[in-house]
Symmetry: C2
Subunit: 409 residues, 2 copies
Amino acid sequence: MSLQGNALVAQSGGPTVVINASMVGCVEAARDRAEIGALYGAIHGMDGILHENLIDLFREDTEVIQGLRYTPSAALGTSRIKPTEKDLERVMQVFRAHNIRYFFYIGGNDSQLACHMISQLARQSDWEMRIIGVPKTIDNDLVITDNCPGFASAARFAASSVQFVARDAEAFGDAEVVEIMGRHAGWITGATQVGRQEERDAPHLVYLPEVKVNPDEFLEDCKAAYAQHGYLVVAVSEGFTFAEGDMFKSSDKVDEFGHARLSGVAEAIANIVEEAVGRRCRHDRLGNLHRCFSYAASAVDLEEAYAVGQAAVNRACDGETDVMITIQRKQNDPFVFECETTSLLSVADKERLVPAEWINARGNGVTEEFIEYARPLMRGTGERVPEGLPTYPRLRGRYVEKRLAAYQR
Amino acid sequence: MSLQGNALVAQSGGPTVVINASMVGCVEAARDRAEIGALYGAIHGMDGILHENLIDLFREDTEVIQGLRYTPSAALGTSRIKPTEKDLERVMQVFRAHNIRYFFYIGGNDSQLACHMISQLARQSDWEMRIIGVPKTIDNDLVITDNCPGFASAARFAASSVQFVARDAEAFGDAEVVEIMGRHAGWITGATQVGRQEERDAPHLVYLPEVKVNPDEFLEDCKAAYAQHGYLVVAVSEGFTFAEGDMFKSSDKVDEFGHARLSGVAEAIANIVEEAVGRRCRHDRLGNLHRCFSYAASAVDLEEAYAVGQAAVNRACDGETDVMITIQRKQNDPFVFECETTSLLSVADKERLVPAEWINARGNGVTEEFIEYARPLMRGTGERVPEGLPTYPRLRGRYVEKRLAAYQR
């Protein structure tokens, strides 16, 4: 059962406030496992694997590794590369050249698919190895797992921001549209409603991308909410779409995964609201801050992210492969969880949307069930915000010698 | 010397993280002054004065007042009204009707001008009263005072955000444009450079609205900085302008002060940078969060805002009028200050830009003198971020009976 060799960890796709905690979980667990000779980190994710840009994580200072546990964004670097067949063959060459027997890939559903393909290729080419997907996505759209590390901190940032900016809108008696990340899944957008403590609190209307919005009802609801509260805050996901309309976009660009690069939803909707309500309507787009604003980190999220990293190493050393670590909720509030596994095939390239029964009948908010699901995840750390400005360690990056000819994609 | 009567406090223009601390400073100082019979608060600033929407602040719960000291945005409500001559006459009627002998107006340079005009009108109409301007603006563009309450927290939010989002850009090897509030004065934008601890840290290029940017040098500097650091973060103010070009704007709307409502600078510049550098360039616009994101509050800012509120009441009761409270720096780091006064005329409608000698020769960053000025102001509170989501008290609002006929603007 015991498989001796080196291990590789890589970070993929959009960073999160807690993705480094998963990497640190891997490093600290791997140090204790005799099966693992060296633990390498790929610089800029898949790109680093393809070009053999690997660093030796056991040679990093302990203080740096410990500090990275609470450092936002991906310290190893990340990439948006979706590997081709040729790329996957190169990956196997790199694995053989560096005796990589363990691979931990921290990412979302695209990455879990890549993991599964590498896993199949390893099997076909008789390279015994253990491949574990480590869940990570602010979008919270991986199936089977209760939630995804990265989500709760993004949700806490968005919910906090909506509360703050709502006070500013209320002070003026303005309307306000806040644009929240989420093209297809409205988990973060829905979670902003957790911050609403009383009727007059924001957000008054919440639109998830799962709902195609009826324009007449939308205008009616905006007017009614403004009339009731004397101000109005509308939370919309970047995937906001009117029924029978196209998704708003002001850019034709696509990212490396082929996803449309959206922008400008908030402004477009704000113009519509301003006309309907007859009051100034401002807009804010929380943008990339969702992924990195660590003053708003969730304590549960940090704990989960570290735990899934550790579980990946321990499960792999104990013989599991071709699986992703999942979170199982054992107690709701305060939140208690355990790590389990599920086959990569069961999660790869699948997308978990907010279930229809967790969205209200009018399609302008989430239900109490959604709130009960999200609230316990969004607990703050209770840590002190530092007196200075944010400063975090970086990896020193002791590179592993390359063993292959240069690669051209 | 002792003038007996009621007092009125109002908040004006854009809220800040600390403007409520100034209001609380007024309330707590006024409670201790025998000269002041009642202290009223105007609901929605000038609008509340014109329409006699006044509440009795001494009837609010002590816990609410104490809680508001740390509550972002304007709890009394604010407005963007620039009073006309007719409005100012109405103001005097309201003051006479409610025996207002003390007026404290918390605002920026537009508000100081309004204060001065009211002051003149009071004198002309033989209504003895004391009028004190209380400085407030995130833009930090009031003259004579060392700095303006509201600025340091906005600066700390912007500088923190740039550090966070820079880590996200670095993880991808992306370029990034961050748009910071400031149409004419680049104080907040310049302050983001305080967060740069070492050469490779962001922001690499910083553009204040005081500088008309040479497009060739801009592109050259973006390319060079990207080549040097492997990622690029450019901080631009919303008033970013190329030499001989117009200010970017995607909106023809103007606000109630006649200021252009800008938007879209970051996106426009990001497109230019992306083409120049040949790497993806994202953009983030920090928007209204500058004014309310209290997790990033500055400790100095909270202290100053409270102190200027208290000073306004005490100076007025001691006989001063037609002045604005100023901050005088007594020690740089740690920051120690005293409150002084200056005539309203000396600050009204004037704008303090970042001095040319605090901007580097290339026009793409600030000097060490700027950093030394700003850094001590931006110290964090060291307070714990709450475990729950932000929740703040609201005023109960016990309205004062109206005594005049309704007013039509």
